[in-house]
């Protein structure tokens, strides 16, 4: 371990340190009421974010800890999304928690930071052991965060479900990791493909191991058929936690999937792996979009939307595996990273609006949005942008995200997958438009007027998100270049 190693993994260490500080400061007398833990947590997240941006701008990249951590551009970009999401959801939680008395705030803040540290670790992990460590470090605080409203059965039930199924998924993952190690002689992600090739290309052991590992990761990104937990957990968790989970977990886990792509290709055969992932992608896109059609609860709707977006991302992953070794590979990788950035911005924004309209009374029905267009046109306009972006309407980030992903699929020869993806997103249009209709056309039920507090913090979050969603959409090229990965 050298100082350079520590500098490289700064984006992981900083939030962890901040989490410790938050807990320590909480022990000081009188700190409970001063809101110190919130400020400290926000500061910690902001510093982590700043450090990551700094590292990105100065190309602080390299291997650390004997190559078990690979801090490259992709890792830094994903870490950037993670920390931005953590910061945003901390800001959101201020509003959310201040209206409720049933949550221990310091712990809450510390858990968000710990989880962010785990995600950052996952983004840079280049070794099966670190992958597992990262997954657990991000998951355990999340289990707790989901169940943080401990007097609310919905929240506790969600946390419990997530914990059980998560443990289940971890078991699969560990099993897969062990098999992969057995079939390749290495735990290093970059060495596994060559290891498998050396031992013999067509080993069922490696294929089985890779698929079990895949199952665990697909669970985390909420891909069908490992998605069942998603609506319940997203609905039960405190909304800022949902926002954080939906965006940051997905980003961090996709970092691992990106790194695992060569392994999947070698262990399963590129053609077969691509078809498998493509098939799962189609399934995920359709289940997500169809499931969202009949939802009445905004958070559940966004949960299904999140599932469908996992599907679009899997399209990119399938293209990446299929295009191994060609120029399309880099295109597919960047399209996934661009998609993650876009999704982080638009989804965070939508959840921010959900926090705002909830009014401390758990008003989460879509019908609670009724009349928002009249009562708070700015917020409604922001929600319009998010809904259109999630639906993939130009010129928002969501459009270009889908465009690039589908384009790389076409380039990789997965034309059927791309066509089905476009079809699925047409179904998606329907329920996003329903959000708009509700906001602008429907009359609110008496007593259910969208009560909107003019909270500076949520406004800041929504505005930032709007800015990014539009910026990414209007000048996508600059961002794509920033996200172009030397693959």
């Amino acid at each position: 371990m050298t100082p350079n190693d520590l500098a490289l993994v700064g984006p992981i260490l900083l939030p962890a340190l901040a989490a410790l500080l938050v807990i320590l400061v909480d022990l000081l007398p009188g700190s409970q009421r001063s809101g110190g833990s919130f400020l400290l947590a926000v500061l910690g997240a902001a510093v982590s974010l700043g450090y990551t941006i700094h590292a990105l701008m100065h190309d602080r990249e390299g291997l650390a800890f004997f190559g078990t951590m690979k801090i490259d551009r992709m890792a830094l970009l994903i870490t950037l999304f993670v920390h931005a999401s953590a910061l945003m959801s901390l800001l959101l939680s201020k509003v959310y928690l201040d209206r409720r008395s049933d949550v221990e705030q310091p712990e809450y803040h510390a858990f968000v930071l710990t989880s962010a540290a785990g995600m950052a670790m996952l983004a840079g992990a280049n070794d099966l052991v670190n992958v597992f460590l990262g997954i657990e470090l991000l998951s355990i605080p999340l289990y707790l965060l989901v169940a943080m409203r401990k007097h609310q059965s919905r929240s506790v039930e969600a946390g419990f479900k997530y914990l059980l199924l998560g443990a289940f998924a971890s078991a699969f993952m560990l099993f897969g990791a062990a098999l992969l190690y057995g079939s390749s002689g290495s735990t290093m992600l970059t060495a596994i493909p060559t290891g498998i090739a050396r031992i013999g290309n067509d080993t069922p052991l490696a294929a089985f191991g890779a698929s079990m590992l895949l199952v665990g990761l697909l669970f985390k990104v909420a891909a069908v058929p490992f998605h069942m937990w998603t609506p319940d957990v997203y609905e039960g968790a405190p909304t800022p936690v949902t926002a954080f989970m939906a965006t940051a977990t997905k980003a961090a886990t996709f970092a691992v999937l990106l790194r695992l792509a060569p392994t999947l290709g070698t262990a399963l055969g590129e053609e077969q792996a691509a078809n498998l992932l493509g098939g799962l992608a189609v399934l995920t896109m359709f289940v997500g979009n169809l499931g969202a059609l009949q939802q009445l609860n905004l958070k559940r709707l966004l949960a299904y939307s999140s599932i469908s977006h996992a599907g679009y991302l899997l399209v990119g992953l399938a293209a990446l595996v299929r295009a191994h070794g060609s120029s399309v590979e880099a295109e597919a990788a960047s399209s996934i990273v661009y998609y993650l950035g876009a999704y982080t911005a638009m989804s965070l924004g939508a959840f921010a609006v959900a926090v705002l309209i909830d009014g401390g009374k758990d008003r989460e029905a879509i019908s609670d949005l009724a009349g928002l267009g009249k009562r708070n046109p700015l917020l409604a306009a922001a929600m319009t942008v998010f809904a259109l972006a999630l639906a993939g309407v130009p010129p928002t980030a969501g459009f270009f995200a889908k465009y690039y992903v589908f384009l790389s699929a076409v380039d990789a020869g997965l034309i059927a997958v791309a066509v089905l993806g476009v079809l699925a997103s047409v179904i998606g249009l329907y329920y996003y438009l329903r959000i708009l209709l509700t906001m602008y056309v429907d009359e609110p039920k008496p007593g259910h007027e969208a009560t909107v507090s003019r909270d500076a913090m949520v406004a800041a979050v929504s505005l930032t998100a709007v800015a990014f969603v539009l910026l990414l959409g209007i000048v996508p090229k600059g961002f794509v270049e920033a996200m172009a990965l030397a693959h």
């Binding site: 479900k161 059980l164 199924l165 289940f168 998924a169 699969f172 069922p204 294929a207 089985f208 698929s211 079990m212 895949l214 199952v215 669970f219 069908v224 058929p225 490992f226 069942m228 937990w229 609506p231 319940d232 399963l268 077969q272 498998l276 289940v287 169809l290 499931g291 969202a292 059609l293 009949q294 939802q295 399309v328 295109e331 465009y403 690039y404 384009l407 380039d411 179904i427 000048v475 996508p476 090229k477 600059g478 794509v480 270049e481």
Partner: protein, 651 residues
Amino acid sequence: MEGLIQTIVLAPFVSVALLFLLRRQLPKSAAAVIGCGAVLVPFLCTVAAFFQFDGTPVTATLTQWMTGSVLNVPLAFRLDQLSLTWTLVVTGIGFLIHVYSVGYMHEDPSFVRFFTYLNLFVGSMLCLVLGDSMVLLFLGWEGVGLCSYLLIGFWFDEEENAKAGQKAFVVNRIGDLGFLVAMVLVFKQFGTLNIADVNAMAAAQAATLDPTLVTSIALALFVGCCGKSAQLPLYTWLPDAMAGPTPVSALIHAATMVTAGIYLVARMSIFFAMSPTASTVVAVVGCATALFAATIGLRQRDIKKVLAYSTVSQLGYMFLALGIGAYTAGVFHVITHAFFKALLFLGAGSVIHALHHEQDAMRMGGLKKYLPITHKTFLIGSLALAGIAPFAGFFSKDKILGAALYSHGLPQLLGVFGLITALMTAFYTFRLYALVFHGEERFGHGAHGHADHGAHADAGHGHGAHDHAKPHESPLTMTFPLMVLAVLAVLGGALSLPHFAHFDMLGKFLEPIFAPAYAVLGAPHEHSVAQELGAMLVSLVLAVGGAWYGFSKFSEGPGKQAEHSTKGLPFLLENKWFVDEIYNVLVVGPMRALSHLAGFFDRLVVDGLVNGVAGMVRSAGGWIRMMQNGALHTYALLFILGAAYLAIVLL
């Protein structure tokens, strides 16, 4: 240079954003300054760019817009001789008309909205002209169409105006379809939509390209041009477009937007040069439009309608020029026409303003002494439009007619028709001039509430509507642009003097643009001095004769024409050959019947199908929701089944 180009394109859009965001806060004066500034800045930048321009085209890329393996569209703007010429016209005349609008619209409650649209139009027009790919050009093309639609229907509380806007919109869609088809064909053949690349490739492959394809591309482009530049048979929207405020008519429907079709043909001239068929179609349609519109112009009563039909007619001249390969002459006529037609429209606006939105020339007369500046400038504009030397229109029209008359075969015949059109043009121009400014005063008695014009017929709302005092000259913001344009209409011809004068600035300047086309067509004919003088003399005699006849016949008043004619040719002319009615019977009627049929089909079949599918989708949604019953063991079971499925598939 790149910075200049970027400023040119972005300034209007920045202003649009500002005006839109601050529409409630901004006082009119500030909005006027911002709105005019947003066109003045690009104009100054264009002038600066003109002086820095060394003959090599410059491309300024703002950003990569769409990228992908198939289609790359950067947000890039290209300044070359052609786009520079157009940019100068658009920003220069655009600025003058903005200034004029400050005076013309000063009492309108939607003042800021007006300037927002006007700036948006200028921005879109610049995008059209400067865009380096067909995609950007199309974006601008649609943008100007949208602004035109918004501005025609600016006083949308009048149903008539809203309808006119819709008509323009629908007719233009037909044209746009042609443009889109052309884009697809070009992309399929050349694999790119970058205009410079496409032109270069087309020129390089001139010998091997499939002539049918070239003709298809050229004709598809021309269909687009027919819509935008109001040519037969798609011209009907332009006269109706006069429902918009007069500055809009001057800027969009005379000086700039309607010349977009000319621009497109000039830009892609190589395709037309390679396809004699397409060129012939362009020339014939142009000539026919020129003649046809001129006949209608002979008997119109509404001052703006006369000018509108003359615009359609003059645009026809320009297409005639392009069709017979006289590209420079066509562009030259665009420029001079922009000068004098903007002048005439603004003059008409000044008259309408002074007479409290009276537009019927039969109810004017004798305005010479009340509106001295408007009168003089309008006279200059009329002389230029009639094609009387030495005003600008004479030189450009003579170039076109000369090129046509001294060629062989069909173009020669078209040239003869062009001469007849010139005679009619001079006649109706001076008929209008005489009716408006000379003779007895026919305004002021019972002019108000005239059935043809609603309260909003044009500007000057609430301008002391019941004050029947003498008409008075417009304010300086309105007369100043008139004077500038008048100077241009006098001197504009100097840009490209007849060949024997050895002074053809414009021709020299535009040479590189049309060089590939002339490489295919062969160099344009050199006419002898005698030939040139002969053509000039003939067209001058016709113009002066027509003008004199028009003026002397109507300088005392409208005479018999004050009454609506009921039979014969005058009846046909006054009713515009009943083209609108014919279209209604032939196109709109069947369409309506078809739509009823389609509606029936829709309800019976499509709706059923859609409802069926929607039902299926919805029940699939319900099914997914049912599975999601919250029971943990179901989830775990599915999880395991999924994992097992993966394992089975893979092993």
